[in-house]
Symmetry: C2
Subunit: 149 residues, 2 copies
C-alpha cells in the first residue's frame, strides 16, 4: 500500500499515534506539550526573549508570558535582564529545569521501550531502519516548517 494511494491512512495514523502518545504516555512532570517544547528550546539554544519563544511555539506573547510565569513559579526557568535593552527579558533554563527535561525523556523513552517489546525482532528492525532512513529528511522538514511560521 503506497502512501500516494492512501495518504489518509498515514495522516490518520499520525493523528492516532499523537493522541495515544500524548494521552497514554503522560510525562511524570505534568508539563504541557508547549511547556516541554519551550524548555527544550531553551535547553538547545540557550536564553531567549519571550517574543522569540512565543513565535517558535506558535502561541501569542501573552500566552507565553503566562506559561513562563508558571514555569518560573515551578523553578524551571529564570528571568534575566538584558543589559543593552531595558524592555527585553531573557529567559533561561535553571538547573532544576534541565534535570526535569532529562527525567522526562528517560521516562518517556522507557515507556517507548516497553511498547516496542510487543513487536518481533524483525518488526523492530524494520521500524529502526525506516526511522534511520527518514530522520534526516524529517529534520529538514521540521526546520522548513519552523522557518515558515
Amino acid at each position: 500500500m503506497g502512501v500516494d494511494q492512501n495518504p489518509a491512512a498515514v495522516a490518520e495514523l499520525f493523528e492516532t499515534v499523537t493522541v495515544l502518545m500524548m494521552r497514554h504516555v503522560p510525562a511524570p512532570d505534568g508539563l504541557s506539550l508547549t511547556a516541554a517544547a519551550t524548555l527544550g528550546s531553551l535547553q538547545r539554544r540557550g536564553p531567549q526573549r519571550i517574543t522569540a519563544l512565543a513565535a517558535a511555539q506558535g502561541v501569542t506573547q501573552p500566552s507565553m508570558t503566562q506559561l513562563l510565569r508558571r514555569l518560573e513559579d515551578a523553578g524551571l526557568v529564570a528571568r534575566v535582564a538584558e543589559p543593552t535593552d531595558g524592555r527585553v527579558v531573557l529567559v533561561q533554563l535553571t538547573a532544576a529545569g534541565d534535570e526535569t527535561l532529562r527525567t522526562r525523556w528517560e521516562t518517556r523513552l522507557g515507556h517507548l521501550e516497553t511498547v516496542l517489546q510487543t513487536l518481533t525482532d524483525e518488526e523492530r528492525a524494520t521500524l529502526q531502519h525506516a526511522a534511520e532512513e527518514a530522520l534526516p529528511v524529517a529534520q529538514k522538514l521540521v526546520n522548513s516548517l519552523a522557518a515558515r511560521y
Copy 2:
C-alpha cells in the same frame, strides 16, 4: 546515526513535529485533537457507547460526555438508545460529521502537500519509502497501544 545511539533525537523530533503540526496546521473545523479522533473512531468502527469512546481516547467519562454534547450541538454526532440496556447511550456519526471529517483530511493533506514541496524529489522518495516500510508495523504498534489502555 542509529536510533539506538540517539533515541532522544527521535523522541524530540516527534515532539517537535507534533507541536508544529498541531499548532501550525490547524484544522478548518475548530475540532480539538480529541474531538477529531473521536469522530474518526466513530467513522471507522461505527456507533459506540460513551464509556468505550472515553477509554479509547484516554479521557474520563465526564470529559467524553461533555465533548459529545458539544459535537451533538454541532450536529456531528447523534445519541441513540440501546434497546437491550436502558442505561446505555450509543453515539453515532451523522452525515454532517462524516462530511466534516472528509473535509478535514482534505485540508490537512493539502497543507502537507505544500510542505512536502520544499523537499527534493529524492528526499520525498526517501520519506515515502520509509513510510511505506514502517506503516504496517506502526499500525500494529498503535493497535497494541490501544489494546493496552
